[in-house]
């Protein structure tokens, strides 16, 4: 009788383990992430209501920092640059990515090699990209000098040192780095479409352009979504590209929110103001990610 009870309880224990083992294994990781990521986000949120200067202080002070932030000329320049950079970065990466993916989808001979070449810039860190493009775009060292040496005396390409145009050089470097990634996403998407659909369209007499424009690209909605989310979050976080390419210059004309945040905390010794700008960035990223997550979860639940 006792033997039967023990056997039963061991079986129950194993059943319980089987049900709960995944949760147990994940628990440490979840715990660490909750503490170090979400806990620290809450800490930053708290600090933004204090008057911390060089080191954090914990007495609540009020919402003054938010007013100070939006009254700061440098922050407004950073936000404006963020909009310009994000819009152009999104558009150019997506367009160039789709075009490259469509070309590579044509079952060409050297597809593997070309795919690798286009994807390679993604493997570089933004610091390397920024530094290399800084030299290429410098009027006395790079493209402008090359054309002048070739004989085009009055050629100018000094966007990098021009306050109005410098932000567009950041777009150039960023698009060069990330277009390959978007291309890879779209290529995977195009390849996952069943052949029957394309065959059916061709039987109906659709030309290649129509096949892509009217059928395949609209089917790529999830890929658009994914690449949009990833590109926007790269753009909001971009710091090392700016530091390597222009250091926020000339003057402060290419400063971005992430750079504002770092400089305010560590160079200006204003931790609370920096925390405020971090919360603003967090809200911007949430505004993009949360609707996306919601729509994904809803679709999962529906299916």
């Amino acid at each position: 009788m006792a033997f039967f009870l023990i056997k039963n309880s061991i079986k129950n224990m194993f059943k319980w383990l089987e049900k709960n083992l995944p949760k147990i294994v994940l628990a440490p990781a979840v715990g660490l992430i909750s503490w170090f990521v979400y806990g620290f986000v809450l800490w930053t949120f708290y600090i933004s209501f204090t008057n911390s200067k060089i080191l954090p202080r914990y007495e609540l002070w009020g919402v003054g920092n938010y007013g100070k932030l939006w009254a700061s000329h440098k922050w407004l320049v950073a936000v404006e640059n963020l909009f310009i950079f994000t819009a152009l970065f999104l558009i150019f990466c997506t367009v160039i990515g789709i075009i490259l993916a469509i070309f590579l989808d044509q079952k060409i001979r050297a597809e593997g090699v070309l795919r690798t070449i286009y994807l390679y810039p993604m493997a570089l860190s933004f610091i390397v990209t920024g530094t290399a493009w800084k030299w290429i775009l410098n009027p006395t060292l790079g493209i402008q000098k090359m054309f002048i040496d070739w004989g085009f005396e009055s050629f100018t390409f000094d966007w990098l040192v021009d306050r109005e145009m410098a932000i567009y050089t950041v777009v150039i470097a960023g698009v060069w780095q990330s277009a390959g990634f978007v291309m890879a996403l779209f290529l995977a998407g195009l390849r996952s479409v069943e052949d029957e659909i394309v065959k059916a369209a061709k039987i109906d007499g659709a030309g290649l352009f129509t096949v892509y424009w009217k059928i395949l690209i609209p089917m790529m909605r999830p890929v658009f979504f994914t690449s949009f989310v990833i590109l926007v979050h790269i753009s909001i976080k971009s710091y090392d590209l700016i530091v390597a390419l222009t250091q926020g210059g000339p003057g402060i004309s290419t400063t971005m929110p992430a750079m504002y945040m770092t400089q305010t905390a560590f160079h200006k010794s204003q931790v609370a103001l920096s925390a405020t700008s971090a919360i603003m960035m967090f809200m911007a990223v949430s505004a993009v990610i949360i609707p996306y997550l919601y729509s994904e979860l809803r679709r999962e639940n529906a299916s």
């Binding site: 009027p139 000094d158 210059g249 000339p250 200006k268």
Partner: protein, 299 residues
């Protein structure tokens, strides 16, 4: 030790820091060969400097090698401020942060001179590192650079000697001397063993031999005034002599661009306006007002 250096190490209490050197910020480094070839002698006033720059520009040489980074703009600005405005102007504006001083006509004149200097830089200046600009002077591609005494190391490494290949002269001013002191800060501790260690370290750092060897390598001058200067080069010897005469005439001013006169917040507040003005066509009057506004906003 100089009284000003002394004060910043203890602030009317027991000593809490040991100074290891004194950096001078307001140096002008010029290529002697280029200057001689164009018949230019070392300028002693800002007008002479502008005239020399005009001559160089006419001869097709970049007059002013400058690295377009915010801290470098601020370094040049404080040398100009002290030189054009005078020592008392500098102390009132950038040490005491008086609003009337910041909005004054003198500040407008300082920004005017900065605008003139901007006209003498080349197109590739924004973003350039300071040592690349020094390299331009060493190679003769540019006439002069305004930078602290650490630039001397670049010349020495390139095998150039002061007086033969290059000039190291203070930027024009009235016995002014912009200084910055590097020190080791000792935190309060109640452990007697650590306290003994701190005292020993401080004693060693203030010793004549350490001061001499450290500064021979670093390019600055010793914080102790009684260290024999025989092994130092001519630029350092001149700096050591200048600090005594400057001190006597009230010309010793702490650098704000290098964290001596102001903390980080105020330094950044001043630097933002300076670099904006330098890299745009903001008028000098607007810049002076922006400078005062920026200081008040960050008080």
């Amino acid at each position: 030790m100089i009284a000003a250096v002394h004060k910043c190490q203890n602030n009317s209490g027991p000593y809490c820091a040991a100074p290891v050197n004194i950096h001078r910020i307001d140096w002008m480094w010029a290529n002697k060969v280029v200057f001689d070839a164009n018949g230019i002698s070392v300028p002693t006033t800002w007008d002479e400097l502008n005239a020399a720059a005009d001559k160089l520009q006419a001869a097709g040489i970049i007059p002013f090698a400058h690295g377009g980074q915010a801290w470098q703009d601020a370094t040049v600005f404080e040398a100009v401020a002290m030189g054009v405005g005078g020592n008392n102007y500098y102390k009132n504006c950038y040490v005491k942060l008086e609003e009337t001083c910041l909005r004054s006509e003198t500040t407008v004149k300082v920004f005017d001179q900065m605008r003139k200097l901007k006209g003498y830089t080349d197109e590739g200046s924004p973003g350039r590192d300071w040592n690349v600009a020094t390299g331009m002077v060493i190679e003769g591609k540019a006439g002069f650079q305004i930078m602290g005494d650490w630039a001397k190391g670049e010349f020495t490494a390139a095998g150039k000697s002061p007086g033969w290949d290059y000039y190291c002269v203070p930027t024009p001013s009235n016995n002014g001397y912009l200084y910055n002191v590097d020190s080791f800060i000792f935190y309060k501790t109640s452990d007697p063993d650590k306290q003994a260690g701190q005292k020993l370290l401080a004693k060693l750092m203030m010793g004549k031999n350490f001061q001499k060897v450290f500064n021979l390598y670093k390019g600055s001058i010793p914080a102790r005034l009684d260290v024999p200067m025989d092994e130092f080069d001519d630029c350092a010897k001149a700096s050591n002599a200048d600090i005594k005469t400057s001190g006597a005439k009230g010309g010793l001013v702490p650098s704000f661009a290098h964290g001596m006169a102001q903390g980080n917040t105020m330094k950044a507040a001043l630097q933002d306006v300076i670099t904006e003005h330098f890299n745009s066509d903001m008028s000098s009057k607007d810049a002076a007002n922006a400078l005062a506004d920026s200081v008040l906003q960050n008080m």
